[in-house]
Symmetry: C2
Subunit: 592 residues, 2 copies
C-alpha cells in the first residue's frame, strides 16, 4: 500500500472526542473509530470500461464491479485490458465480497482473470447478472466461481459494511445501484443507469427507494458520467419502439436490425413488435443467441411459440414477414452484419427490398468501419437507416437532466463522478455544481487515487472526506491471447514500429576464430518494401553491410555489439535517405 505519510504511525483523529458509536450513516452521528473509509476506483475514471471500485474500511474490503476495457488504437494485437489488482495483493483475506451492478462486459469481463487471483471471493449479483457471469466463465477453464444471486430488496452484511440495492434502468434488465453502509457513512454507487418512465420489460427505476436512501443521509454519491456531456433527458426505450415500428411498417421487404448483443431490452422490444405485426424473428450471432437464450430461460423475455425461427429456415417464410436481429452494428469483422454484407453469411444475402437498421450508437473509433459497412450494404441495394436519421437507439446512460434528478433524490454531501474519460467526469462535476453542490465536495479523481472519509463530530453527516494525492497502481493490464500482463510497452512499441514501416533482418555469418565474413549477408524484410521489386536497394544494403564487416578489426571478437549497432545505425540511415521509411533494422551475427 502506497501511503506517503510522514510519521510512521497513523494519526488517531477525533479519538475520545466522540459521542457513542451510532448505527452506520445515522444523521448527525459519527463513529469513535479512527478508521478511515477508503474509496479507490482502480478503473473507470480515465476511460470507458474496466470498471472496478474498492471500498476499504479497516480489514473489510468490498469490490464493486470487475470489468474489462477494449484496447486503444495504439495497442495493436491486444484483446482487452483489465484492472490492475496489485493493491489487493496480501489483502485477499479482507475481501468480503464482489458486488456486480449488471451483466455487461465492462462490469463483469475481468472476473475470469481476476477473481481466482483474489482467492475467489463471493460474487453477488442479481439473477440475470449472475447468469451472464456464469455464461462468460464457460469460455475459461478456470475453477468455478462463488456466485450468490441476490434480490433487490436484500441486505448483505459484509464485515462491518452493509450492502443493499436499488433498481435502476439501463440497457440490460436487472441492473442495480448499490448502497454501501459503513460506520463512517453511507455511500451510494449508481452503477450504469438511466431513468426510464416507460422502459421495456421491467419497472421504472425505484425513485421512491432512492429518495428514502437520500433522506436517511448519504455521505457520498458515485455517479455514472457516460452521458454527462449530453444535454436533456435520455430517450425512453418505448420511444425507440414507436420509431422502429413505423420503419418496419413502411419497409417493402425484409428487415435486418443490427444492435449490441447485450442490448436485451431492444431485442425484446423488436420481438414484441414482430408479434404485433405477425412477423417472424431470427436472431443471429453467437453472443446474441446465447444472451437471448439466457433471458428466455430466466423469464425476462416472453416470446410466443413460433415467433422465433432458426436463421437457416429464413427462406421458408415470405421476405416481408421476416425480421433478422443480429450482431455487427459496430462493423466488427466477423460479426453477422459484416458477413451478410460481404456475402459470407451462410443463409442471408442482401436483396434489393431489404431494410437494414443500425439500432445502436457508434462506439468512438468505429466510425470509419461502420461507414464502410453501410456503403457495402447500400451497394448491394439495401436501404440503410441509422440513428442520425431517426431516434432508433436510446442510450443506457443518464444525461445531464437525469443526473440532476438523481442528485436531488440522493442529496449527498460528497459527489464523485465515475465511468468516463476525465473530461466527462469534469462535465458531470459541473452538473452537480450547477444545482448547488459545493465544488470543494466534488472529487474528480484519477484511477487509483485514494479518497478518504473519516468521522468528525463537527460534521452534519458524521464524516469528512478528502481526495488525497495518494495513488495506488491502476495502470493497464493487457490481455493478449493467453497472456495477461505480459505484453509490455517494449513489445507494443515494437509492434507499432513494425506496423509503420516493417522490418529488415540482416544476418551476417563470420568465422568465430578469424572474424572473417563467410559468404554474403542474408537479408529478409517484411512490411518494408516489396522485395522482388527492390532488388537494387537490397543489393546496396548487402554491399554496405559487407563493407562494415570487412572494415572492422577482425580480431576483436568482442565488438559484436558494437558492429551490430553500427549496422543498425548505418543501414537505418541509408534506408531512410532512400525511402523516407524507418523499418526496424535487426542485425544478427552468426559465428561458426
Amino acid at each position: 500500500m502506497i501511503f506517503f505519510r510522514k510519521s510512521g504511525k497513523p494519526k488517531r483523529l477525533n479519538q475520545g472526542q466522540g459521542e457513542n458509536v451510532m448505527s452506520p450513516a445515522t444523521k448527525g452521528g459519527y463513529d469513535k473509530s479512527p478508521l478511515k473509509l477508503r474509496i479507490i476506483a482502480i478503473g473507470g475514471l480515465e476511460e470507458v470500461g474496466r470498471n472496478m471500485t474498492l471500498f476499504e474500511y479497516g480489514s473489510d474490503i468490498i469490490i464493486i464491479d470487475m470489468g474489462l476495457q477494449f484496447p486503444e488504437e495504439d495497442m495493436p494485437g491486444i484483446d482487452y485490458i483489465i484492472p490492475n489488482i496489485s493493491y489487493l495483493k496480501g489483502k485477499e483475506k479482507n475481501i468480503r465480497g464482489i458486488v456486480i451492478t449488471h451483466g455487461h462486459m465492462d462490469h463483469i469481463g475481468g472476473i475470469p482473470h481476476l477473481a481466482p487471483r483474489l482467492g475467489n471471493p463471493t460474487i453477488y449479483g442479481t439473477k440475470l447478472t449472475c447468469a451472464m457471469i456464469k455464461r462468460r466463465q464457460e469460455d475459461y477453464k478456470s475453477e468455478p466461481l462463488n456466485l450468490a444471486v441476490v434480490k433487490e430488496d436484500e441486505t448483505l452484511t459484509l464485515g462491518k459494511i452493509e450492502v443493499s440495492f436499488f433498481h435502476v434502468n439501463h440497457s440490460i434488465p436487472d441492473s442495480v445501484g448499490v448502497v454501501i453502509k459503513t460506520p463512517v457513512g453511507t455511500i451510494v454507487h449508481t452503477g450504469d443507469w438511466k431513468f426510464d418512465y416507460t422502459p421495456v420489460g421491467e419497472r421504472p427505476a425505484d425513485f421512491s427507494k432512492i429518495a428514502q436512501i437520500g433522506k436517511a443521509g448519504v455521505l457520498a454519491l458515485l455517479c455514472d458520467s457516460t452521458d454527462a456531456p449530453e444535454e436533456g433527458h435520455q430517450i425512453s426505450e418505448q420511444e425507440i419502439g414507436k420509431n422502429l415500428k413505423s420503419i418496419i411498417e413502411k419497409a417493402p421487404g425484409r428487415i435486418i436490425i443490427g444492435t449490441f448483443s447485450s442490448l436485451l431490452s431492444r431485442v425484446e422490444q423488436i420481438i414484441t413488435l414482430a408479434e404485433e405485426m405477425g412477423k417472424k424473428v431470427a436472431v443471429d450471432g453467437f453472443s446474441m443467441k446465447t444472451n437471448v437464450e439466457i433471458v428466455k430461460t430466466l423469464g425476462y423475455l416472453k416470446v410466443k411459440p413460433g415467433t422465433l425461427i432458426d436463421i437457416k429456415d429464413i427462406h421458408n417464410y415470405p421476405q416481408e414477414k421476416m425480421i433478422v436481429i443480429c450482431t455487427g452494428a459496430q462493423g466488427e469483422g466477423r460479426a453477422v452484419l459484416m458477413r451478410i454484407a460481404n456475402e459470407e453469411h451462410r443463409f442471408v444475402r442482401i436483396e434489393p427490398k431489404d431494410t437494414v437498421i443500425f439500432s445502436s450508437s457508434v462506439i468512438p473509433g468505429n466510425e470509419r468501419t461502420i461507414q464502410r459497412l453501410k456503403d457495402t450494404l447500400y451497394r448491394k441495394g439495401a436501404d440503410v437507416i441509422h440513428y442520425k436519421m431517426m431516434d432508433i437507439h436510446a442510450g443506457g446512460h443518464a444525461k445531464a437532466e437525469d443526473i440532476k434528478l438523481m442528485i436531488c433524490l440522493v442529496r449527498p454531501k460528497y459527489y464523485i463522478p465515475i465511468h468516463g474519460p476525465h473530461s466527462f467526469l469534469r462535465m458531470n462535476a459541473k452538473i452537480a455544481e450547477s444545482i448547488g453542490l459545493d465544488s470543494k465536495n466534488i472529487f474528480v479523481a484519477d484511477n487509483g487515487q485514494v479518497m478518504e472519509f473519516q468521522s468528525s463530530p463537527r460534521e452534519t453527516y458524521g464524516a469528512v472526506g478528502r481526495l488525497t494525492p495518494q495513488h495506488v497502481p491502476a495502470d493497464y493490464v493487457m490481455v493478449d491471447g493467453l497472456g495477461v500482463g505480459d505484453v509490455s510497452q517494449v513489445v507494443l512499441r515494437d509492434r507499432q514500429m513494425m506496423a509503420e514501416d516493417g522490418m529488415i533482418v540482416i544476418i551476417v555469418t563470420v568465422d568465430g576464430k578469424t572474424g572473417y565474413l563467410i559468404g554474403s549477408p542474408d537479408i529478409i524484410s517484411r512490411g518494408f518494401v516489396y522485395m522482388r521489386e527492390s532488388k537494387q536497394l537490397i543489393e546496396q544494403v548487402r554491399s554496405k553491410v559487407k563493407k562494415l564487416i570487412t572494415d572492422r578489426d577482425p580480431k576483436s571478437a568482442a565488438d559484436n555489439i558494437f558492429i551490430k549497432n553500427k549496422i543498425r545505425d548505418n543501414i537505418g540511415q541509408f534506408l531512410f535517405t532512400k525511402t523516407e521509411r524507418r523499418p526496424m533494422v535487426l542485425p544478427v551475427i552468426i559465428e561458426v
Copy 2:
C-alpha cells in the same frame, strides 16, 4: 481504355439525322458529331478526399481537381493515397488543362506526384488556389508547375471545351464551381461548396450567375455530397463568430483556439474579433502560419499592425489579452495543441485560467485521440469548449436544404452526386429525387465508372446520358515516404500481421556439405512476447527446431524450402497453443 464494346468499331449514332451543329449546350440543339462526352471520377466517389474527375470529349481531356486522401486504419505506415492515373497513360497529349476548384489538400494534394507524370499540363486556379498549390510544391524538388491564375469571370477555351467559373462559399476563400461547356452539353461541377448569406471576408455565393447558367440549360450537375446526410442548412460563418465572441468575452484568461490550418475564414474572423476586443493574436503551427502569410500577402486577410504577435513574445502581454490560434484540433501527435497539452511546447504551458476552444469538427477516426487530448487539457486545469457544447464550428459543405436550392438554380437534366462515401452519394441522390428529379437521371457511380453523354435529336437538352457498367482503373495508389505505389497489399498484410502479434525469426546454421546442424538455432523476436520474461518458451522453440532439423534427411540439400515450411507451420502452431498469438514466423537457413 477499357470499353467492352462488342463490335470493334464505335457505332456512329445519329449520323446524318441532325440539324446544324449549334453552339454548345444550346437548348434543343445537338451536335452531329458521333463523339461522346465521358465523365469519369477516378477518386472522390467512395471516400473523402483524392478528388479527381476527368471530362473527355474526343481528343480533349479536362481534369478537375487532383487531391489526396488520408489513409484508412488498415494501411499502417501509409502517408496518403493519390488517384490512379493509368487511364491517362498514352493520352497525356490530350490533356488540355487541370482545373482546380480550391486550395484544400483533398483537391490539390496529388499535384506534385501526378502533374509531372502527365507532362505538366497547365493548371488553372484562382489566385489563392494557385498560391496554395505553389506553397505545397515547395516541399517537393520536382520541376516547376505550369500554373495559370484565372479570374472568376474568365472563360477558358480548352480544345473543344469551354470552361468558366462561379463563386461559391467554402471554408477557404476563392473557391469556385466550374462550368464545362462541351459540344454535347453543359456540365456543372460544384467543387466543395456551401451557400453562406453572411460569409466572412468574401461575398455570398453567386446565386444570380448560377441561376443564369441553369437557365441556359445544363445537361448534368456534379454536386458535393460531404454533408448531404445532414438536414437543414449549413450554419453561416458569421454565426460562429457570435458564439466565439461570447466565449472570449466570458473567458477569465488566455484563449487558445485549435482549428484546421486551412480554415482561413475562421482565422480571419478570430483576428477581427481580437481587434474589436483589444486583444493580441499569436498564430502557431507551421502550416497555419504559412497559410496566414499567403492570405495576408494576397490581401485576403486584413490585419491591423500590431495585432499579430510572435508566439515567442506571448509572455510580454497580460494573459487576458492573448488569443492563440493553432493547429492540432484533430489531436495530431506533433501539432501545436498536443505539444501544449504535453508540456512540449517551447512557449506555452496550460495555466488554470486558460480556455481551450476546439473550433473544428471531428474527422471520423480521430474521436478517441481528440478525447484524450481534451482529457489532458482538462487535467492541466484548462476549460475546454468544443462543438458539441455550442456552435463554434461551421462546416464548409452544403447540407440537404442547400443542395435542394442548388438543384433548383441549376436545373440539370442529369444529376451526379460526388465527394463522399457511397452511402453519402445515395443520400444526395435521394435529395435530388425528393425535389422531382427522375431517379433514372441520377447516376450514383463508383470511382472509375464511365458516364457517357451523347447528342440525340429526340432530347430536349440535346443529349442523353448513361451510367455505363465500364470501369477504368481507380484503385488506391499509396504514398509511403518517397515510394509512390510501391507498397503492395502483401507489404500491408505483413505490417498488419506484425502489428497484431509481432514476429519471430528462427536462424538455423547448417553445414552446406553434410546438412548437419551447426550450433544452436538463433531466435529473435519483436512485438511477440517480452524475450527476457519468456526464456522457457524460447528454449522450447529452440529444441523443437533442433529436432526438426536433425530428423530430416541431411543429404537432401534441396529440401530447404520444405524444412522452412515445416518450421513455420510447427512453430506457428506450437506458439499459438502456448500463447493464443500468431506471430509471423520467419525461418532462415544459413549454409556454411
